[in-house]
Symmetry: C2
Subunit: 224 residues, 2 copies
């Protein structure tokens, strides 16, 4: 598939602009699907289902529900870690960490069309990503940018300078993640990244749609 | 694939006779691969890699190592829960619980050749298994027969009488699991089950090969 790095989802591909990573606990008040629907209405361009404590069956049911919820929006659903769930549910992509299934094996199993994202934390991991055969991975996730509370096994925060160096060296579209808030969004956009991934900034917002919209609007502010 | 319910692995299929479920902690003393190799040399006919705390990458690496270890033995490797790992590593099967990926979705993704086993705990679940389209599931796992310490989320033990009723009603080859020891093996065989699944009885044995051999030998005792 083609990932556009310009604004807005469209028939040519999807935009990584505002990449919502779900957290069921943070969405508990209004519900996962209502939160996602509001975020997408406000401008979220990708939804990643992440729920490391869910069983395979729960994750499959959540993915199936979110796919129905996203139908007709042009916004793709990616599943964190579980390639089997992504493929079985008919999701559009999978996001893999360094501790997940090796990306080359995942690509062989997934075929050419599924989007595969890969988390990268430092230059050594970026170099490994650069050495992959073309088409193995579609985009990279860089983080955590800031300290994060939604991922218990997160590494040391990169900060903006190291993020900017990774983005500059990345051969692939890059999404920044980790502690990104509406207030911090412009500074993260200024690193040149192709998208901002947010968890609590949208899931825990009073108005997830307004938060998603503000994350995207900060892009122009970050480029001034 | 064909599962034979007669003794011994062979070109016509595999036997469920002595179905070893791995537990890395219990194998820690001698190592997982050495334990599996010894068990297979003694007569284990199936190996299931189960490691619910392993990451996708760890599980993939463990599966790859065990497949090399099993090469040429005729003994298949099944992976617990993670269909993606089973397929990516080239394992022969996957074992799914009721909380794992739905078996119909798993079969669609896996294609016809991968062995799919399914855990069943009561008559209602057995009836659900009976209603599946033929070829969805290849064998059933019934348990726990006895209280077990190697599975923290195990249900109430079935006991031998309920196990025997499930086996009698099962349209598919059935493996019993849960607290089965060499001493208990003949009594479990007497229920008419097609195979005994063992974890600590083999993984924690001083001599895993002798334990596997004794599990199989008890079959004739159980039929007296």
């Amino acid at each position: 598939m083609t990932i556009t790095t310009t604004a807005g989802p469209g028939p040519a591909g999807w935009s990584l602009d505002c990449y919502l990573v779900t957290d069921r606990a943070l969405c508990a008040g209004r519900g996962l699907e209502a939160t996602v629907a509001a975020a997408v209405a406000g401008g979220a361009t990708v939804v990643q289902l992440r729920d490391p404590h869910a069983s395979g069956r729960q994750l499959f049911d959540l993915a199936t529900g979110l796919l129905q919820c996203l139908e007709g929006t042009g916004v793709p659903l990616f599943v964190d870690d579980r390639l089997d769930v992504a493929l079985a549910a008919g999701a559009h992509g999978v996001h893999l960490g360094q501790a997940d299934l090796p990306v080359a094996a995942a690509r062989r199993l997934a075929g050419p069309d599924l989007v595969i994202g890969w988390s990268v934390h430092d230059l050594a991991e970026l170099e490994a990503a650069t050495r992959l055969p073309p088409g193995t991975v579609d985009y990279l996730g860089f983080g955590p940018v800031y300290p994060t509370t939604t991922k218990t096994d997160a590494k040391e925060p990169l900060g903006l300078d190291r993020l900017a160096r990774l983005v500059a060296a990345s051969p692939l579209p890059a999404v920044a993640i980790g502690g990104i808030t509406v207030a911090r969004a412009a500074a993260v956009w200024a690193t040149g990244v192709d998208g901002l991934a947010v968890v609590s900034a949208v899931c825990a917002a009073d108005d997830p749609g307004a938060a998603a919209s503000a994350i995207r609007a900060a892009r122009s502010a970050g480029r001034r």
